[in-house]
């Protein structure tokens, strides 16, 4: 796929070209929205809004990283969702069954190629991470999602959230520190390779 050509076609109104870009990036955008919002329904709404907004304003894309440009769009959509969420009752993280009960293993996590134990481990890890992310302030959460989960570098993240590089560094360090402390509470849920030690020195450096 020649991304530049697709972007150019999309800028001239070619919806098909834009939809190919959507298919290429939708998982990334949805995953980012899920981590920021902590809710897959809201994340789906934000992702859809982000793509609509991106198509409307694609003529304003002046080159550079298209992924970063899309992630900025979805981040803005997530902030909009969070503002709306404040005015609405909270929605449970787990999808509901037809009987209005939370599903233990959400459909989006089910992977038939994994054993039940592996699936459980992944679900536990995912929940632990999401719980800790949800406990972070939105600004910290966004930065840690962009850098540590999406693998962006500092400059890209700074462009996405339109924040100076120094602020990105600071927010990321604080977010990692808090995540580290929070994940201690899920110690037994983490895979052995990821288990963190309880270091008393860290407590002194709390800010």
């Amino acid at each position: 796929m020649d991304e530049t050509a697709l972007i150019h076609d999309a800028q001239r109104g070619d919806l098909e070209a834009f939809n190919r870009l959507v298919l290429a990036y939708q998982d990334k955008l949805f995953n980012t929205a899920c981590r920021i919002l902590g809710d897959d329904d809201l994340a789906a709404d934000a992702t859809q809004e982000a793509f609509i907004s991106a198509f409307r304003s694609i003529t304003s894309f002046r080159g550079g990283s298209f992924k970063a440009w899309l992630l900025r769009t979805v981040t803005n959509a997530c902030y909009d969702e969070l503002r709306r969420k404040k005015r609405r009752p909270t929605v449970p993280l787990e999808p509901m069954t037809d009987d209005n009960e939370e599903m233990e293993t959400p459909r989006w996590m089910a992977d038939p190629s994994l054993s039940p134990e592996e699936q459980t481990e992944i679900v536990d890890l995912d929940e632990a991470i999401q719980d800790c992310l949800d406990a972070l302030p939105t600004n910290f959460r966004t930065v840690v999602v962009l850098v540590d989960i999406q693998g962006m570098d500092y400059e890209e993240a700074a462009r996405v959230v339109r924040t100076p590089l120094g602020t990105i560094k600071s927010r990321l360090a604080r977010a990692r520190l808090r995540m580290r402390e929070c994940l201690q509470g899920f110690w037994e849920l983490l895979p052995a390779a990821f288990r963190l030690r309880d270091d008393p020195l860290l407590a002194e450096s709390r800010v």
Binding site: F18, D27, T59, R174, L196, R197, D199
Partner: protein, 243 residues
Amino acid sequence: MNNRMTFRDVEKLSAYLDEQLSRAEAARLESRLASDPGLRAVMDDLRRTRAVLRAAPKRRAPRNFTLRAESRRVRPPLPRLIPALRLASVVASLMLVFTFAANFVVPLGGARSAQPLYGIGGGGGGDGNDAGPMALEAPAATEEMFVAPAATGEPELTAPAEPAPTEAPAPAEGSARTQEPAAKSLAPQGTQGLTPGPALPETSPPLPIPAVWQAGLLAVAVILAALAFLLRWLTDRRWRQKR
């Protein structure tokens, strides 16, 4: 080595993990890490935390988010020419409104300022006509007024170019009024209140902004707006056909 750790240290450790420190800063931190087990332990924890986050299960989109042209919420991108056309049309419309306003206000102002002229016996008759071709005739009017020293008595007007027999303010000498074209054209304004005789022509003053200009502006505004609309329609149509 002291074990007092500040947030600045944690920030540097975090940046060091991502290779975001300068060489000099990295070298300084590495020497500290070599001698400070506490600092090393914190960095190990930050590294593990980052590893946990990087290992977070990736969630896949529950459905496709492709856009459909039928959706009312989706419209093709706006060609860049359209906003420019719209802006130009708006500017032309505003200018048109301004011309109407100018044509309405200026004659009113002229009539209002012309009123006191009669009250002072016609002195300074040129002041009331401060716009358009009328202004050009003001000197002739003032010269005309000088010849009636008894009536006006203005000391500063001491340059009577020609003691013309016109003397517009004096009704008795109205017969000489038609000798000079300049005085003739000015007569409806300078003498209207005093001598409403049939000899005065009923000419309305020309408007500051000609109607041709207004028609031109109107045409430009309409044509540009129509072009913008047409371009938008063509873009929509072509876009739908592609679907």
